[in-house]
Amino acid sequence: MSSVQPVQLSPRARAYFEQNFKPQYEQLQRAVRQTPLAILVWGPGASAGDLYQKRAQIRDELRRRGHAAFFSEDLAALSPATGSQKGIEFLQAQAADLIVVMQASYGSVAEVHDFAEHRVINFKMLIFIDERATDGYSYRGALQELKTLYNNVETYRYPDDITQCHLLTKVLAKVDVLQAVKYRVMQNAASWGLSAGGA
């Protein structure tokens, strides 16, 4: 949520803003910020250098904001002993509220293509892909359709967007909205015709 900026209010409106609205709004903001999301961050491993650093930065910033943000490899110890790697990642993805994907490694490309057809997962992905790869099969075959359906594919310019915070900003914008949705579900599920505690 953005900050509250009263502008040119009448004296009566300003009094209501200061005395009634602002305290309650700030309380609401705090409550929304304390609603954690389960977020997976897929992408290249440590050998990828700055791309891995960006991936780690996104995870760490999300954790700093109170979200349960993980790499899939962080959850390896909790995964069932039996079952394929694809099945395990499917279960993880199904459980997450949001999946941030830096499609810059063999593994992350395969993950996106594995789950791009799954309607219970593909909308959850927020995919970042190098703009130089938009003429390839991955983009044309899978990402373009996802972008049309869910607006969840973003291109980045390497290395400028990696060294700056453009990716993180886009992640946080989406997280903020989903956080408000989850807060409303948890607080007032009945208003939306949902059973309480489902989120």
């Binding site: 009566r12 609205f21 609401l28 389960a38 349960a68 509220d97 869910y150 607006n151 903020d176 208003s191």
Partner: protein, 316 residues
């Protein structure tokens, strides 16, 4: 801690309740909703003045509230719908905010006393009984004090030790300081300095200066004028945009079928808007352009004009 499973598709819920969420996440829109509720109902023009917004700015602010059916308008009077009131109440904006000094815990009912109070008749009877017992005891004590004074008021015994009174000064014991000893003299500073400030005000007036002013008031009243009042009133119309409260589902690729024939001449350009919202596409807006384009009766046929309209692709 592993991620907790989500029972709901948050993006789908956002798509379904996007206007409500947008109202919550935008402080200006939420403040507008809360303020209209605070006022009860308000004229659109008055609300624009109160919020310092232009008519266009107010319309933009109100748009998600209209779309979400959180406010309604009748005769240019704006008020909240029951849904708008419910959302505000759920967000805590209806009741006055709790001040930080008050406890956040809900008030607890008073703890019931372990025993209910006795009825008045029983209380009076108990008091009468206790009063009678007290009178009997006091009487017995008075009789005992008269009959047995030595028991209740025993005589004082003389003291066994007489006080020792010193009548002579104590003997002086001579004391010689050993030669090898070092005499240490400690001085305790005594605050004996007394500071009394003395103020001497010396004021030497400068030579007096006398100013002589001469005022000449010259006032020639002008003939009184009666101002001419000219009021210009330009009625403004505020239009409420047509609401589309139901976002269509994600579009699928469609094509013309059933022998539909679309004929055209010249060059036509079909452009469509890019996706703009986080949940994906809720509405497509597209533009069909052409020099000789005629589009029904919605717009006059003007060469070079651009005709734009928008609707969901699923309505093809």
């Amino acid at each position: 801690m592993p991620p907790q499973p989500s029972a709901y598709n948050l993006l789908q819920l956002y798509r379904q309740h996007r206007d409500e969420i947008d109202a919550i996440t935008d402080p200006v829109t939420l403040f507008t909703l809360a303020y209209v509720n605070h006022l009860g109902e308000v004229r659109l023009s008055a609300l624009a003045r109160e919020l310092g917004l232009s008519s266009a700015g107010l319309n933009k602010t109100l748009l998600p509230l209209y779309r979400g059916a959180l406010i309604t308008e009748a005769g240019e009077m704006l008020r909240l719908t029951p849904l708008g009131k419910r959302v505000l109440a759920e967000l805590g904006f209806v009741a006055p905010p709790v001040s930080p000094t008050q406890s956040s815990e809900p008030s607890k009912p008073p703890t019931p006393s372990p025993k209910p109070p006795a009825p008045p008749a029983a209380g009076l009877a108990g008091a009468g009984f206790l009063g009678g017992v007290a009178l009997v005891l006091i009487g017995a004590l008075i009789v005992g004090a008269l009959v047995l004074p030595g028991v209740l008021n025993p005589p004082r015994l003389p003291p066994t030790l007489a006080p020792l009174v010193i009548t002579q000064p104590p003997a002086t014991i001579p004391y010689a300081v050993p030669e090898a000893a070092t005499q240490v003299i400690e001085r305790t500073p005594t605050p004996s300095h007394t500071f009394t400030p003395t103020w001497t005000n010396t004021f030497t007036p400068t030579p007096s200066l006398t100013l002589t002013s001469t005022w000449t008031n010259t006032f020639t009243p002008t003939p009184s004028r009666t101002p001419t009042l000219t009021r210009t009133f330009t009625p403004t119309r505020t239009r409420t945009p047509t609401l589309d409260t139901q976002g269509p589902p994600a579009p699928t690729t469609l094509s013309l079928s059933g022998g539909t024939l679309v004929s055209c001449s010249g060059t036509k350009t079909l452009r469509w808007s890019s996706v703009s919202d986080l949940a994906g596409i809720a509405r497509y807006e597209w533009v069909l352009e052409g020099d000789d384009l005629r589009f029904g009766h919605y717009a006059p046929a003007i060469a070079g004009a651009r005709y734009a309209f928008g609707f969901g692709l699923d309505r093809f």
